[in-house]
């Protein structure tokens, strides 16, 4: 019997991860130089684009960066912990109105408002998460849908909180007042959110969330407190959403209840998350930018076709994005992450290899 209690031999060979041929060959000097040059080239192209175009282009890019933060918030729920949210207009809107409220009522410091918005966003998400502990899967999706409608029709129209129909004003911080400056600020915030998200997924909490997604019962058997980490995930998601909301508010300078609709925010963010690729933060951030650039340039291209197409180009973009999401679900569940994940691994020193992303790429996985 004693033999079974012995520690297994430390030298037990660990096989390669299934499906992933991870060749741990270290790149040479040239390899590292190429990898270091890649982000610099991206940064240079971005800077060139911003400086050579009008401030309107920067504003468009900033809106894409903000969508990226909001979609990352949705990714925590749908991608990591396996809870679907169809009420993200409430998450983003509450952050936006909180930031505007703080800036009009007490301090005009944008960063203080950002922090308050993040905290309030997290609190409302945790509150919703309490319901998710009892109501799971598709039924919880309905609760979020209904919560979004309440936010749209009730919370955002409370005179004391949002100024009723007139909307609330949300100034930008002095240093980042211009459209280009604001793009820089939004990009820095996105970078921080990406960094937090990346490191968070490498902690126990990150692994716990993913275990809960695969199977709450198995996760509980391994000693993971399912309620605690579910609420934690909602908190993180609400935190990101609050930040996205505060950025959204100051980008537009005023916030109105009509900005946060089911089709305009909740569905759009869901589509961006799905097409970008669940659990693929690089894919999500990249597709957010593509999404707004598409929404900006396609109407201009449409002018060359004919007038009626050009007049409705915004709606056509919406049609295309919906179709794109459906095609992604049917043919490529990893979304744009199919291409961004290999780049990410390459940057970390592995060989460039399309194919398996590792880390669970089975698309959406929520137990009903």
């Amino acid at each position: 019997m004693a033999a079974t209690l012995e520690r297994p031999d430390a030298e037990v060979p660990v096989g390669p991860e299934p499906g992933v041929d991870r060749q741990r060959t270290r790149p040479g000097m040239a390899g590292w130089a190429g990898r270091a040059a890649f982000p610099l080239v991206l940064l240079a192209v971005g800077t060139w684009y911003v400086l050579s175009s009008t401030p309107v282009h920067s504003d468009v890019l900033a809106s894409g960066v903000i969508i990226a933060v909001g979609a990352l918030s949705l990714n925590v729920l749908v991608g990591y912990v396996g809870q679907i949210s169809l009420g993200h207009q409430a998450f983003i809107g509450i952050g936006a109105f909180t930031a505007a409220y703080v800036m009009t009522k007490s301090t005009d410091n944008f960063f203080a408002a950002l922090v308050v918005a993040a905290v309030v966003g997290a609190l409302q998400a945790v509150f919703l998460g309490l319901i998710a502990l009892r109501v799971r899967g598709l039924y919880f999706a309905l609760v979020t849908l209904s919560w979004g409608a309440v936010a749209e029709q009730c919370v955002f129209r409370l005179k004391g909180f949002t100024g009723g129909g007139a909307g609330a004003s949300a100034p930008r911080p002095g240093l980042f007042d211009s459209d280009r400056g604001y793009l820089v600020l939004a990009s820095i915030v996105l970078g921080m959110v990406l960094l937090i998200d990346w490191r968070l997924m490498a902690t126990k909490a990150g692994r716990a969330m993913q275990a809960i997604r695969e199977s709450p019962a198995v996760a509980a058997n391994y000693g993971i407190s399912v309620p605690r980490y579910t609420l934690f995930a909602f908190g993180v998601s609400g935190l990101y959403a609050g930040i996205a909301g505060a950025l959204y508010a100051s980008r537009r300078l005023t916030v109105q209840a009509g900005d946060f609709t089911f089709a305009g925010v909740a569905l759009t963010y869901l589509i961006v998350t799905v097409v970008g690729g669940l659990r693929r933060r690089g894919g999500i951030a990249t597709f957010s930018i593509f999404y707004v650039l598409g929404g900006f340039y396609l109407p201009q291209l449409a002018k060359h076709i004919n007038e009626s197409v050009a007049a409705n180009a915004g709606y056509y973009v919406q049609v295309i994005s919906g179709v794109l999401a459906i095609l992604t679900l049917i043919f490529q569940p990893e979304g744009l992450g199919t291409f961004t994940a290999p780049i990410g691994r390459w940057l970390k020193g592995e060989r460039f290899q399309l194919g398996h992303g590792g880390g669970g790429a089975e698309g959406i996985n929520v137990r009903p």
Partner: protein
């Protein structure tokens, strides 16, 4: 005294609830047989409304009604063939996202063909005029038609499931898809059948509702119908067709009671708050719903 205040709200609520009931039955049919939450259901209604009001000037009102309903059925069948069937072995949430993406595409298409957010007036009714005054509420024939339609659909579906082989096959599929396939039921046919029926029901709601409110805009199905209809379906148990009727009617009444004495200055959107409270309440207290047998 209280009865005088409440009675009109109940009458109005029942009429409104009948429309929810029609859409809710479509949701239940699909959920019962395929376990899919159909978020595109509201758009079947909107497409029917557009079909009717864009063609009524050229073909007349009654043929246009048929055009609208057929457009809704055709859309439902197309969605089933092109999107639902290829995804049918995926996790249910994938399908939920797919139907939601379908909804956003359909909404945007309506805006393309319906000239943006234009408000369409809908004055034509199936039967014009006032039927009676009940508790101070003028009930029009159109409202009576909606209630009757709900009854007809209810009895029709009950007979269909009880007495026809196809109805029985649908029920069997909902209980045990694999075994049903083994005894020779074609799941693909059943799936098309329930989606077609859901399109029909959504279409009926879509052509009957606009005359009651007097106008409609693009996406009204998703905005005004989808959430209440889902709540009604959950209230009734999500798998029970009589439950969806009862749920629809009760939700209509609850909404009207909620908005009746609360000014929108004090609490805007009281009806949406009522819907959320009912939904969360029923899910926490009795997840199987009022008439549901399975959770």
């Amino acid at each position: 005294m209280l009865a005088l205040v409440i009675a009109p709200a109940i009458v109005l609520g029942i009429i409104q609830g009948a429309v929810y009931g029609l859409v809710a039955v479509g949701l239940v049919l699909i959920y019962k047989s395929t376990r899919i939450f159909n978020f595109a259901a509201g758009e079947f209604a909107t497409i029917a409304a557009f079909g009717t009001y864009l063609t009524k000037d050229s073909v007349g009102y009654y043929p246009a009604l048929l055009v609208g309903i057929l457009a809704a059925v055709a859309t439902a069948l197309l969605v089933e063939r092109l999107i639902i069937w290829p995804l049918s072995d995926r996790p249910r949430v994938t399908l939920l996202v797919a139907t939601a993406a379908t909804a956003i595409s359909l909404i945007a298409l309506q805006f393309v063909f319906g000239a943006g957010g234009k408000i369409f007036s809908a004055r034509d009714t199936v039967v014009g005029g006032k039927f009676a005054e009940i508790f101070g509420v003028n009930v029009s024939y159109q409202q009576l038609v909606v209630l009757l339609m709900l009854l007809v659909v209810g009895v029709g579906l009950a007979l269909f499931f009880a007495f026809t082989d196809t109805g029985l096959a649908t029920l069997a599929t909902s209980q045990e898809p694999t075994a049903s396939r083994l005894v020779g039921i074609r799941l693909s046919r059943v799936s098309m059948l329930v989606w077609g029926m859901a399109g029909l029901l959504g279409g009926l709601a879509g052509v009957l509702l606009p005359p009651l409110t007097g106008n409609f805009t693009g996406a009204f199905g998703t905005i005004d119908l989808l959430i209440p209809a889902f709540t009604a379906a959950v209230l009734g148990g999500m798998t029970s067709i009589p439950g969806a009727f009862v749920g629809g009617l009760s939700l209509g009444v609850i909404q009207n009671l909620a908005s009746f004495n609360i000014s929108s200055d004090r609490l805007p959107g009281a009806t949406s708050v009522a819907v959320l409270i009912v939904l969360v309440g029923i899910l926490l207290a009795r997840p199987s719903g009022l008439l549901g047998k399975e959770a």
